[in-house]
Amino acid sequence: MPVKPLLTKDFATEGLAQLKVYERSGGYSGFKKALETQPDDLVELVKKSGLRGRGGAGFPTGSKWSFLPKGVYPRYLVCNADESEPGCFKDRYLIENSPHQVLEGILIASYAIGCNLAFIYIRGEYLPQHDALEAAIAEARQAGYIGRNVLGKGYDIDVILHRGAGAYICGEETALLTSLEGYRGEPRLKPPFPAIKGLYGKPTVVNNVETVCNLPHIVLNGADWFKAIGTPTGSGTRLWCMSGHVNRPGNYEMENGTPIRELIEEQGGGVWKNRKLKAFQPGGASMMVLLPEHLDVGLDFDAIQKAGSLAGAGAIVVMDETTCMVDAARRYVKFFHHESCGKCTPCREGTFWMANIFDAMEAGEAKPADIDLLLDIGYGIDGRSFCPLGDASTWFPRSVIKFFRDEFQQHISEKGCPFKKSVQEAVA
């Protein structure tokens, strides 16, 4: 029996962003059902469903909720819509097409954890998406889904939409909370984890947009139904953002465990211009490179980790045979350098140092010893940074050196990029 997509199943419906249309396709019936259920039972339901966070780490959502200390109030739910991982554009797509689905998920999560004030932290660049959510919140308030004594059930909930202002680091949950409190978006030491001491020092759950979008469906159809989709350790579907050298880039919702080959070759129409696949990333800028031999790996947190990379935020970046792997790594390293918050030395100085070496590589000024120097710097950053931003800055470049060391050597011996005649006159 073919399984239909979950989160995107109604996206072809015209006007889905409007409350009336969303309700006609079953919208808010999950929230209504949730309000008839004891909050603790909802936490158990989500635990049992096996839902794992879709923001990148894949942590079980129900467990995250259950870490909140008993009897400590107020407690907050923060929906992380600060999507900024290069290669990733799924949250934007979910918000644009169905802002009420996001909102309904937030309301269910808030009710389940006993929160009366929820926040959505959306990246500053997503202004039209911000406006779509704002309109949805106004409609939901009007309809009585948000406010005091929601639907006569004695539950109070308010939602504040908060706009960021251009900082990748604010996608990291503790930096996000610091930013939401009005400070510079620098991460905090864990522990204490946000569940114990989060926003304003109160117990807080931070959940990704795609994670909360799953909740209405789980509440309506049950944990067993959800668990039957996907793999034993990866229930449900995921949205995969496909970009790069593929014929049909875009968002694709796939059942967990589907071979990567099916996504790239069938959904995406294969590598463009009839070229060969050289490499791909399964989880956005941070993640280690995979090779054509990994095409039969399943789209799943655990399977991708076993293959030597990470599924991260679910972004597949496809690179064909003409790609300069050194330049691809250079862009990402420059990105992490640009986005490093500067709080800790390994990340602040290390990304700067790596970026300089990569610039020298492309400019034909690198020395043979620079390849091992890059690995050394990476070793000095990874596991020694304050937060995962620094660690992640080293994963892709180090994996590229491992698999494509000859390209680095070529850049050095040929004094420049063998793939490009003229390089970035207008590039930062």
Binding site: R92, E181, E339
Partner: protein, 186 residues
């Protein structure tokens, strides 16, 4: 230039909305930038006054976030992404073309004051439509030289509306998700 009364009122409303008035700093900076186009030290001092916080705190926060402008720019803001997913689909060539079309370098404003452009390594979240650029907060995807010409020409018109109006006409049809998933029941 003192803030408009409506902006001040908005900032005070914001402070009352959040459990901590400090959380209103970023929304207040947005409100000021929306009114004046950029955020001066004087405006930050005003925000501080209305929120009852030291202005050093407002400046510390403002200087962290790349989207707050400290000086006036052109009437339209054009940003082109050159991170890897966009690079793979020709963003460098588009950036070079845009630079030639505008006749000013990365980070500068055209002589008619119409457009300030810069390239960015920060992913804007439109990799599926690469190469892309952001025009006044709206995304222009699947760029070609011809499309850049059309966009630039429109933005140069003295009365050209913000990116919204421009984009509405030029945006390609929304891509539908192709969500075919096959599963066998055992």
């Amino acid at each position: 230039m003192p803030l408009a009364n409506s902006t001040v009122e908005h900032i005070r409303d914001l402070a009352a909305r959040y459990p901590s008035k400090q959380s209103a700093i970023i929304p207040a900076l947005w409100a000021v930038q929306h009114e004046q186009g950029y955020v001066t030290k004087e405006a930050m001092a005003e925000i501080a006054e209305h929120l009852g916080l030291p202005s050093s705190l407002i400046e510390a926060t403002a200087s962290f976030y790349s989207m707050f402008l400290t000086k006036p720019e052109g009437r339209h803001d054009v940003v082109i992404c050159v991170n890897a997913p966009c690079m793979l689909r020709g963003a460098d060539e588009m950036a070079a073309y845009l630079q030639r079309a505008l006749g000013v370098r990365d980070g500068q404003t055209t002589s008619d004051g119409a457009i300030t452009w810069h390239s960015t390594i920060e992913c804007l979240g439109a990799c599926g439509g690469a190469p892309m650029m952001q025009v006044d907060h709206h995304f222009e995807e699947n760029l070609t030289e011809e499309r850049i010409d059309t966009i630039v020409e429109r933005l140069r018109q003295p009365g050209a509306a913000g990116g919204g109006a421009v984009v509405a006409a030029a945006e390609p049809p929304k891509r539908k998700v192709a969500a075919k998933r096959v599963r066998t029941e055992n």
